[in-house]
């Protein structure tokens, strides 16, 4: 990775040169009389099992081949009925009853019934991997009951207000197929790694997680299709191209119809290519510089404040060519309950010096380590901006790039955690608890809890808010939580970078939703015109 900078420079140059060249065009690929859409990104799909793993590329495939009770849709994200046509919550917030649609079928023709839903949640909890963390502290497997063929009832141990916001990520698998392929007592885990037992809009045709995943559109999808019948794709291919330059070249040559994992610079170059359209949307992926709040100089809140007031926030926007928004709260703007926290630090050197005087390092004179993910250009440049900003306080910054796994391992304990770690965090749902909980004691050591933030009062409020059933009260609590967290400054609240995609202009139906991970696209509504 030491050649990263030169390589990146070269790629940028190459892309600039190619942007000026006449495009060599290929006709889009057809399968019979229907078209196949090729989507390309840099990340493999290691495991298909929806209860074992998720990340952007994996979930893109999972949501294509599986359905859940509810689904996230649109911007701002709404939760819409899917396998469940409606649901009820008991007044005490403990019982959720879902009523299933009658016509949903798995790809093999079996009906998607209440037992399948019960089995899937039961399996997710028992495997205790992937998505299990969402419910395992609130829901016991035995408290999921298939009341009749079309009704499932969940009884929680205690009220958990974010429940509904996580349900869309619990995909339903076909119990018959899964158990027929069980090895030992693995609940079909081995088999589902590379096979599918779903009811989703696409069927799995070919799977090589390191190279490509080919999906066929299910012509008889129980939910129907959003586009005219003649427009429906034959299928979608997810092709993995790891380097940015060949990926951009593939879009230009029409080898790919849509690509992601782009930098803001890439986006500008692509926007100039005839026949290419770019998508840039404000997501919910926050970028912050987390302080080690337990050990070292940054355990001192005044020093943290000083740094937060010295930092040049405009640099964040410049580095992203304006394809970003500053954070106005620990919560992203798209999240329920978000408020613009008054007095959230912006560059103000007088205030910075004020806070520095109150810290144990009134004259600076210290060196702090800033760790970012090796190979990611934006966080590295943000480190340079930080280095530049902190000169005013006579604080030196040592910028270190490390692989993600090393960085997270270091951040898992206060003793080994660097003074400052930059990290992107994508909340998994739209409920404010998803972000608030990152500041809870229970999140210490996880990648979003690397600040080891400590404020027992805030922790108590977070616990209380997740159990509150009165929504107005609950949102008021989150407003207070946001204010308190900003006051303690466990991190420099940075920005929300836009989600970026490049696509051929004939690709239609793209729907952005900020709840999706960076790069992730819902292939269901996509089609190709012309």
């Amino acid at each position: 990775m030491t050649n990263d900078v030169s390589r990146r420079g070269l790629m940028a140059g190459a892309a600039l040169l190619t942007a000026g060249m006449p495009g060599i065009s290929w006709a889009f690929e057809r399968d019979g009389n229907r078209k196949v859409l090729v989507f390309s990104g840099n990340q493999a799909v290691p495991v298909l099992d929806p209860h074992v793993r998720y990340d952007w590329s994996t979930r893109m495939i999972q949501q294509s081949v599986y359905d859940a009770l509810l689904k996230y849709d649109g911007d701002p994200p709404r939760i819409i009925p899917w396998l469940a046509e409606r649901y009820e919550v008991s007044p005490d917030g403990l019982t959720y009853t879902f009523h299933l649609v009658g016509n949903a079928k798995f790809h093999n023709g079996d009906p998607v019934d209440a037992e399948a839903v019960r089995f899937s949640f039961d399996r997710g909890l028992k495997l205790n991997a992937g998505i299990a963390w969402m419910f395992r502290d609130f829901l016991k497997p035995e408290n999921i009951v298939a009341v009749d063929a079309r009704t499932v009832r969940f009884t929680l141990d205690r009220p958990f207000a974010p429940f509904i916001s996580y349900v869309p990520w619990w995909y339903v698998v076909n119990p018959k197929q899964v158990m027929a392929n069980q090895e030992g007592s693995d609940l079909g885990r081995k088999w589902l790694t590379e096979n599918v037992a779903g009811s989703g809009p696409f069927k799995l045709r070919r799977f090589d997680g390191n190279a490509l995943v080919h999906l066929d559109a299910a012509a008889d999808y129980w939910k129907g299709w959003p586009m005219a019948d003649g427009e429906r794709l034959s299928g979608v291919i997810y092709r993995i191209i790891r380097e940015a330059a060949p990926r951009k070249a593939a879009l230009q040559r029409r080898e790919a119809d849509m690509i992601t994992n782009l930098t803001p610079d890439d986006l500008e170059q692509l926007a100039r290519v005839p026949g290419v359209a770019v998508e840039s949307h404000a997501g919910s992926n926050t970028f912050g510089i987390k302080f080690n709040c337990q050990q070292g100089p940054t355990a001192d809140v005044n020093l943290r404040k000083a740094i937060a007031y010295a930092f040049d926030y405009d640099a964040l926007l410049t580095i992203h060519n304006g394809q970003a928004k500053l954070q106005t709260s620990p919560f992203p703007q798209s999240m329920a309950g978000h408020i613009d926290v008054p007095g959230i630090p912006r560059k103000d050197l007088d205030k910075a010096r004020d806070y520095l005087k109150r810290s144990q390092y009134p004259n600076g004179g210290i060196e702090l380590e800033y760790v970012h993910v090796q190979g990611l250009e934006s966080p590295r440049r943000i480190g340079l901006a930080l280095l530049d900003s902190l000169r005013a306080l006579d604080i030196k910054v040592n910028i270190v790039g490390q692989p993600w796994t090393t960085m997270v391992a270091r951040g898992s304990k206060p003793e080994t955690c660097p003074n400052m770690i930059s990290v992107y965090v994508t909340p998994v749902g739209t409920d404010p608890d998803t972000v608030a909980y990152q500041y809870h004691r229970a999140s210490w050591g996880l990648y979003y809890g690397m600040s080891h933030y400590e404020n027992p009062e805030v922790w108590r409020m977070i616990d209380e808010a997740r159990g509150e059933t009165d929504n107005a009260k609950r949102m008021a609590m989150y407003a207070e939580i946001q204010r308190r967290i900003v006051d303690d400054q466990p991190e420099v609240f940075g920005m929300i970078a836009n989600g970026l995609w490049g696509r051929r202009d004939y690709v239609r139906g793209f729907v952005f939703s900020p709840v999706r991970f960076t790069g992730e696209v819902d292939p269901y509504p996509l089609w190709i015109a012309g």
């Binding site: 050649n3 030169s6 390589r7 070269l10 790629m11 190459a14 040169l17 190619t18 060249m21 060599i24 690929e29 196949v36 090729v38 493999a44 290691p46 495991v47 074992v52 793993r53 998720y54 990340d55 205790n128 991997a129 992937g130 299990a132 963390w133 395992r136 885990r189 081995k190 790694t193 590379e194 070919r206 090589d208 997680g209 390191n210 190279a211 490509l212 080919h214 291919i237 092709r239 191209i241 790891r242 380097e243 330059a245 060949p246 070249a249 593939a250 230009q252 040559r253 080898e255 692989p403 993600w404 796994t405 090393t406 997270v408 391992a409 898992s412 998994v428 229970a442 996880l446 990648y447």
Partner: protein
Amino acid sequence: MAGYLLRRILLAGLMLFGLVCLTFVIANVAPSDPAALAAGPDAGRSQIEQARRDYGLDKPLPEQFLRYVTDLLHGNFGRSVATGRSVGTDLARYFPATLELVIVAMTLGVLLGVPLGVLSALRKDGPIDHATRIFAVSGIALPPFWFGLLLQLGFATWLGLLPTSGRLSVFTEPPDPITGLLLVDSALRGNWALLGEAASYIVLPAIVLSLPCLASILRVNRAEMVEALRMDYVVAARAHGVTPWRIVMVHALKNAMLPTLAIIGLRWGWMMSSTVLVETVFDWPGIGLYAVSSAIAGDFKPVMGVTLIVGLNFMIANLIVDLLYGVLDPRLRRA
């Protein structure tokens, strides 16, 4: 000869064991937690501990090592924590692609390197010699990923002559493997269209992979040829009126080939490891790409598996070269 062979094989086994120890130590001093990786980014402590038990990572290191070695003896390379799949199965799936790429690249290297070396030696200090020297030096000096991107830009993006990356078009279903080498399989099946497609995909990565090898074969062969052509037996042969063609191709080249052969053996191993870069640039689905994806994810069993396979290739290639030495040089056979 049999004793010699046995000694060499024993030595190779010993080296392989050393390699196993080394990769195991390196994988375990890396400051990352494979259990956390297996459990996923948002997993809580209970899931991480569960993953630790599932993958046997809760056991003391000596026990883990013992288990790994026992597994290896049974041909089992352990399980990837990212996919849960057996590394052995993955290696079997990806190795043929790498082998095919290395064979094509090596063939290119030898078929071009040896004649160019001979030609340079015959035209020593002439324009051809200078040209090949520049070519060879740049061939060794060019970083493969840079050269790869440049070729992609030229031949794929600008000229549109060859595909950018991959092993086949995404729309082509790969045939059921016979050998796993696409070129061979499609020829065996008489599927010429597929053969053409596979060939068009392998050209660029093979060129990039072969360049450093071609360059070193060229240089070593040239030096040895220059040396050989000065020898008394060549002068004697000339005096006897042996045709220049025969002098060069039979007498001189056979002697010059000994060190060249050693280089070929070494380069075979080097090439296997260079696939890490070349396969990443070209998304060639072989063990190099597999190692890179796994290393980035902090998934070490696949990386260890690939290291062992590359090490094994080094050893086998050198063993074969040693044996061939005996064929080419009768003095060694007696020794």
